[in-house]
Symmetry: C2
């Protein structure tokens, strides 16, 4: 019923009864419950043009219940809080060297960001319906544990358990999921390609992750591990990857590869070390590019070529309509996309390639946190009874 009000906009109790097949007594009783939880409000009489008493219209009162999405990545922690209508209430990004910190230290920082954002919501009179945490790694979503997050150096890190000990109210559900999967959901619900039911999202960061929407559903696989694009082998004669394998796609298109080729004088050591400050490295690459450094253009073209090669594998296997480029890929899209397009056309199955486009994400680095908040909203609309309101309206 709440979903109907949310999707259809203001409508009367009778209209809700008609549309949902519930009888009017049930609707009236449910509306009272949703009003008490601050999820539905009356918006004044709705003149439907019919004779008789004008009925009062109901609308989603998304403003008093919030959703919190948080992301831990190699060099930042991001938090986005929205209300149930998807309006952004808090947008926070904290630079943090998660790659160089212990998991315990990172979880402390994460808990701090979550607590601060929840306090913001409290001040706004908004009750959080849940927290979803995005992590670049394989996640056991049942227990909220990170099985492995190679670029964070995490193995078996119980994120949900740690947060639940951090003073977060026990009735606020904590969910942990893969960052690229959540970003793909954000693209599908609110990106520039929203509604495209076959879509692949790629995160271009130190690690390269993927999220796949197929037939309008997030592709999970048997364990929720589907779409792990970063470590598919694309070159048996390639360079060693920091995962221990050789020739992984990440060694060709991850930020470290770009830094190594574009600014070799900045590439100390291997893997992690190269991109200790991803934002700084990227800013430098953009600056040198503006100055006309030919190595930078060549490096971007080379990354683009490998991007297209890997994309040809994804197109043959998933047959998407769109490949959305996130993270640093979006920042360099003007040159990356033409190079990738050329290689994709050369290597992908003709029928599938012709109708597939690359586009740059316009959600920025906040895509995963936004998708995480979106998951909370979806759950709240599906099961509003799970929400226990903290700021009850004065009764009557």
């Amino acid at each position: 019923m709440l979903r109907h009000v949310s999707v259809s906009g203001p409508c009367s109790r009778s209209a809700v009864a008609l549309a949902t097949g519930l009888n009017k007594t049930t609707v009236t009783s449910l509306v009272s419950e949703l009003q008490a939880r601050g999820l539905v409000m009356e918006t004044g009489p709705q003149h439907a043009g019919s004779v008789g008493r004008p009925s009062v219209a109901l609308a989603l009162d998304g403003s008093r219940v919030g959703a919190l999405g948080v992301e831990v990545n190699v060099d930042y922690i991001a938090a986005i809080a929205t209300d149930l209508a998807g309006r952004v209430l808090v947008d926070r990004r904290v630079g943090f060297d998660a790659m160089g910190s212990s998991p315990e230290r990172s979880l402390d920082e994460l808990a701090l960001v979550v607590e601060k954002t929840l306090a913001d919501l409290d001040r706004l009179g908004v009750t959080p319906a849940g927290v979803t945490v995005a992590i670049p790694g394989l996640i056991d979503t049942i227990t909220g544990t990170v099985v492995v997050a190679p670029n964070l150096g995490w193995h078996g890190v119980a994120v949900a358990e740690r947060l639940s000990q951090a003073g977060i109210r026990p009735d606020i559900p904590i969910v942990v999921d893969n960052d690229a999967n959540l970003a793909a959901l954000a693209e599908y619900t609110s990106g520039s390609e929203a509604g495209t039911s076959d879509l692949v999202y790629l995160t271009g960061e130190v690690g390269v992750g993927g999220g796949v929407i197929s037939g309008g559903r997030l592709l999970g696989g048997a364990d929720g591990f589907a779409g792990e694009v970063g470590h598919i082998m694309v070159d048996p004669a390639g360079e060693p990857c920091r995962c221990g394998r050789v020739g992984c796609w990440e060694t060709k298109v991850g930020l470290a590869a770009l830094v190594r080729m574009a600014t070799p004088d900045r590439a100390y050591g291997m893997g992690r070390q190269i991109v200790r400050d991803p934002e700084e490295r990227l800013a430098e690459i953009e600056q040198r590019r503006a100055e006309g450094d030919p190595r930078v253009e060549a490096a971007i073209a080379e990354v683009g070529r490998w991007l297209g090669l890997g994309a040809s594998v994804l197109v043959n296997l998933f047959n998407p309509r769109v490949i959305v480029l996130g993270g640093y890929f979006a920042r360099l899209a003007d040159r990356l996309i033409p190079a990738a397009r050329q290689e994709l056309t050369r290597l992908g199955m003709t029928g599938a390639v012709e109708r597939c486009r690359f586009v740059a994400s316009d959600l920025g680095f906040g895509a995963a946190a936004r998708g995480a908040a979106g998951v909370v909203v979806e759950r709240a609309l599906s099961d509003p009874t799970a929400i226990s309101i903290r700021h009850p309206l004065p009764s009557g």
Copy 2:
């Protein structure tokens, strides 16, 4: 209603009404229609232990309506006809050099096989509910046209249109789909791993195709082209593929690769030529293996290694529980699987690899035709009104 009777077995009209939410008058009326179409029969009184008049039980009468699945592959045309209960009524396999024939010639042969099998069904008093054709290529399923089938040398071949001109009754729907997708459906519904909701099926033939079941649904992609595993690039420094690209997986694990390595004295020319008689080549490989030819063992191990490498890409992207090996892969599974397993473990994401197994298909080369017949059965159970019975029961 028909599906309920099919799944739940014999049950009374009252039980059907209760389970489906239809009222008894509607059920009685629908049952009459289904009886007239020969889809439902009465199986005598059902004593439910309750007082009152014993009710008559209804059961699926699958025996009078049939489903026809046909497959065109490089060296054979196969047809399997089943009744709606899935019992095989006709199983026909005709050796035919489709690779060496024009599309027109192949379609004539296909039409002949279909006509013969429909005549068999007619003699058995079975009305066909539809024909589904499996082709190793990209299919436009809306028009029933093969966009491209590289190993048949087909481009833009209108299979459904040609069959509809072949004297097949115009009320029998003709559907065309990808062979590996249909085989994956057959594995999911009736193979040894039936019910595994995340499953990848691989056809090992001259071409290598794939069908993906994810979350209990066939993965289609935007155009039904998903799962095209044969031409993913696995080795940029590899051999030319007959598709015009380089380093496709098919060049490493297709039958031509095995023939070239295992029996180099039999490998004349390239690609197609090598495997003009796939069955014969395979029989020879098996014979020489039995005689202890070391080249054969080495070749199978090498193919197994590449099978595992490609499988690691599939496991990272689809996170399946099982990879079902069909076609020639199944015939050599005893040695292929250990070699593939070792490489998969080395290259795949640990979390996803640990719980994924290779198994050999036990549906044989008939998997695609069987899946094709299964599609017809599914459609018939979903929409029995589309069936116009040819052999009406005497009324009364």
